[in-house]
Each structure stands twice: as structure tokens, then as C-alpha cells.
């Protein structure tokens, strides 16, 4: 399982790194960036889903 951010869609709302700072960070322009390679455990999957459910641009993608 992996989480990623569609950089074309991300507009820097900042919901992902606010809700799940263990999975995401922000870059110099304030866009969301995945920490590491985005591999998810059963535990972090929930957190990734929370970020996904709060992204207004639907830019958080999860491969299960």
C-alpha cells in the first residue's frame, strides 16, 4: 500500500500535512509532499485515508 500526491492537483490547502504530519510535509511553496516513499502500514493507512478525505482537490492518492 502506498500514498502519493498528485502534484498537478495539489493547490497547497495544507490539509494533508496538518492532519497527518507523520506521512506528509510541505515544500517551499506550501504544497504537500509525501515523506519517504509513501509505503503504508495498516496503521498509517487510516491516517492516509483521513488526509484523503479532507483534501478539497482530491490530490491525495492511495494504492491499496
Amino acid at each position: 500500500m502506498r500514498v502519493s500526491i498528485d502534484a498537478e492537483r495539489c493547490q497547497g490547502h495544507g490539509r494533508c500535512f496538518s492532519l497527518a504530519p507523520s506521512l506528509f510535509e510541505f515544500d517551499d511553496l506550501g504544497s504537500g509532499v509525501v515523506l519517504g516513499d509513501g509505503t503504508l502500514s495498516d496503521e498509517t493507512l487510516e491516517l492516509a485515508r483521513l488526509a484523503q478525505a479532507n483534501c478539497p482537490e482530491h490530490a491525495v492518492l492511495i494504492e491499496e
Binding site: 495544507g14 496538518s18 510541505f26 511553496l29 478525505a53 479532507n54 478539497p56
Partner: protein, 402 residues
């Protein structure tokens, strides 16, 4: 201001400055979503109002057919104003692609979380200072004594303008946002004092550069050249307009909610960690901002025969109450877990200051309820709402309870 006829049917004659809309737009929008999801008006030279999440999203994301050359609905059209597209009067909010991205990237770093988060201590100190000034008073105006004072002070500090000028800021905001009925030449006249004021500040910063946003704008380069003075002006105007009335509207609405919902107030007092989630629900439920677009050329869109230069008023606050997009959309749920609200817009024009606005709201609410864990509205009839595209309560007489 000219006196306008009252609105009889918002589906065919909407007006966002009509007293009914200003005082309580939610039933109007609910009715429109059911009956006429893209409403029309002949006012302001013609325009459309999408009230569903679907309609608002479609137009916000479609920069091919809709331009941002002017984002405040008024009786004029940008062709009659001074600056041409693609720059517009207030880049990047009034810019279209491809210039938009260039203008936006210039100032995004100044509003990224990395730049904004360190402001928390000074914003907190500002809030504490405002509360200290109120002393032991048991009658406090949540708007004029508190919320209205926070965003101007923060933006003024960021721009590096004199502390004594906050009242001037408020006049500027009022002029731009709430006088949509002025004729074009009157609006231009009204802009003159603003231009004069900014000119003085810019000259002062040119003579003595310092570590603030004004110096940043004067120093930053676009394609190897400094920004034109029009670009700097426009961006400063944008920061004042977009950074002040908006945030204080959202903050005032949040305080009004807490004054009238003691259970939610008690919950936040007892569970301070809930504040960031609550801020998102305040933003969804009381989103203050609508933004306009203009139709680029005649087009049938969402089933409507749109004409070139028709306004589109993007109903972000209406989309936030659309039951097709939110479960229990009409309910305020302080710990709402899934919240894809559009309070900061959608697409390439996402509010540049959203990180700052969230920080100001969170800190201002934290400090207010820390000082006043129990308060209520002293006079419900006294609450007034601002007209225009930044909607928020302007008079909040609170009684502080023991």
C-alpha cells in the same frame, strides 16, 4: 449608494447585497440548489450564481472559459479599468494562466507554512494584549473589541507599515469591498487615497529596505527584472483586501457561534486539542468569501446561455452546505472528521493566505475562550452582517459570564 428594488425571486434576480441575502443567505441557497442551481440576474450588467458544489467546482477549475480579471462584482467591467489582463489590478488573484502561476509563485514562499508558522508567538501576544485591554469588563464586543483588530495588525506587521495606520486599512477595505454600487469613475476616485498611501510606504521602503513583505516585493525579480510598480501596488492591495475583512469575518462568525452554542463552547474549553478540527468546521459552515469570475465569451455552460462579460459569483459558502457533497451539510458538527470544504476556494486561485488565516483563527479563538470560558450574546437583535463578498457579523455584544 443608489437604492435598489428588493429581490422578489433570487433564481432570476439574485443580488448578494440584498438585505435578505446579507442577513441569512442559507435558506435562499438551499432553495436555489433545489430549484435553480445556477441562478441568474440582470443586475450588475448580468450574472450567474452557482449554488451547488458541482457547479462551483466546475467553474472554479475552468480557467479556459472564465477569467479572473475582476473578482469583485460591480457595475463596471475590467475593460474600463486601468490595468489590462493578464496582470489585472491585483495579481495573482486577478490574473489568468499563464501569468497567474508566475505571479503566484513569487509570493507563495512568503505565505507557506514555513514562513507563516513562526508568526504564532506574535499573533498570540497581539490577542492577549487586546484581551488585557478589556480588563474586567463584563460587556465585550467580540467584533470591534477583538476580531476586527487582529488581521489588520498582522498584515500591517507583515507589510512593515506604521502601527498608527490600522484605521486607514479598515477604510480601504470598506471602500473596495462594500461599495459595489459606485459608478466606475467614482470607484477610481475612491482608489486615489490608497495609491497615495502606498506610494509613501513604497518610497520609504526603497530608501530603507528591511525584512518585511514590502521590501520583499520591491526586491523580488521576475524574468531578471524587478516587479513593475503597478504589480507591487496590485499585490499590496490584494493582501489588504484578502487578508483582513475575510479573516475577521470568519473569526467573528466563529465567536458568534460559540456565544450561541454553549455546548460547543464547553467542548472546546474542555478539549483544546479539538480546536484545529473545529476551525475547519467553522470555515465550512460560516465561509465568508464568495469570489467572482467573468465569462470569457458566449457559451452554454451548465445548461445556461452565458454571455461574454457576464459575472459568475462563485458560491463557495453555498457549496459548503450542499448535501450532495457533505453528510448532514446543514448541521454544525464541531468534530467533523471528513471536511473537504471550499472556504478557501478551489483550483489555481486557492486562497494564498489560508495558512495565515487558519493560524489567526486558531490562536485568536484559543486565547478568547481561555480568557472567557463562558460568554453569551447580550443582544441578539444587535448583530449586523456585512454586505458584499466578505460576509461576517460586524457587531457582537457579548456578556461575559462567571
Amino acid at each position: 449608494m443608489t437604492i435598489k428594488p428588493p429581490v422578489d425571486d433570487f433564481a432570476t434576480d439574485w443580488d448578494h447585497t440584498d438585505p435578505q441575502w446579507v442577513n441569512d443567505p442559507y435558506p435562499i441557497w438551499e432553495d436555489l440548489r433545489d430549484r435553480c442551481p445556477v441562478a441568474h440576474t440582470d443586475r450588475y450588467g448580468g450574472g450567474w450564481f452557482p449554488s451547488t458544489h458541482e457547479g462551483v467546482s466546475a467553474i472554479a477549475n475552468d480557467t479556459d472559459h472564465f477569467t479572473s480579471r475582476t473578482v469583485i462584482v460591480n457595475n463596471g467591467r475590467p475593460g474600463e479599468e486601468a490595468l489590462p489582463a493578464p496582470i489585472g489590478v491585483a495579481p495573482p488573484i486577478t490574473s489568468d494562466p499563464p501569468f497567474h502561476q508566475i505571479a503566484r509563485r513569487l509570493i507563495l514562499p512568503a505565505f507557506s507554512p514555513g514562513a507563516i508558522n513562526p508568526l504564532e508567538p506574535q499573533i498570540r501576544a497581539l490577542c492577549v494584549n487586546l484581551l488585557d485591554r478589556l480588563g474586567d469588563s463584563t460587556l465585550v464586543n467580540g467584533s470591534s473589541d477583538y476580531a476586527q483588530n487582529i488581521p489588520p495588525a498582522v498584515i500591517r506587521q507583515m507589510l512593515g507599515f506604521p502601527e498608527a495606520d490600522e484605521e486607514i486599512f479598515r477604510e480601504i477595505i470598506h471602500m473596495v469591498a462594500e461599495t459595489v454600487d459606485l459608478a466606475v469613475d467614482e470607484r477610481e476616485l475612491a482608489f486615489e487615497p490608497i495609491i497615495e498611501y502606498f506610494t509613501v510606504q513604497i518610497e520609504d521602503h526603497r530608501a530603507t529596505p528591511r525584512d518585511d513583505l514590502t521590501s520583499y516585493l520591491l526586491d523580488v525579480e521576475l524574468g531578471g527584472e524587478k516587479l513593475s510598480v503597478e504589480h507591487v501596488f496590485g499585490t499590496m492591495i490584494l493582501l489588504l483586501i484578502a487578508g483582513i475583512d475575510t479573516t475577521w469575518s470568519a473569526l467573528s462568525a466563529s465567536l458568534l457561534h460559540l456565544a450561541t452554542h454553549p455546548d460547543d463552547l464547553a467542548r472546546l474549553v474542555n478539549e483544546p486539542d479539538l480546536m484545529p478540527v473545529a476551525v475547519e468546521e467553522f470555515l465550512r459552515f460560516y465561509a465568508p468569501v464568495t469570489m467572482a469570475r467573468l465569462v470569457k465569451q458566449d457559451i452554454d455552460y451548465l445548461g445556461c446561455p452565458m454571455k461574454e462579460d457576464d459575472w459568475i459569483l462563485l458560491g463557495f459558502p453555498a457549496a459548503n452546505r450542499d448535501p450532495a457533497a457533505f453528510q448532514d451539510a446543514e448541521k454544525f458538527i464541531i468534530d467533523r472528521r471528513e471536511n473537504r470544504h471550499l472556504a478557501f476556494g478551489l483550483g489555481i486561485h486557492r486562497c494564498l493566505g489560508s495558512n495565515l488565516a487558519r493560524l489567526e483563527m486558531r490562536v485568536a479563538l484559543e486565547e478568547f475562550i481561555r480568557r472567557y470560558p463562558r460568554f453569551e450574546l447580550a443582544d441578539p437583535g444587535a448583530v449586523t452582517w456585512a454586505a458584499g463578498q466578505f460576509r461576517g457579523p460586524r457587531n457582537l455584544p457579548f456578556r461575559i459570564l462567571a
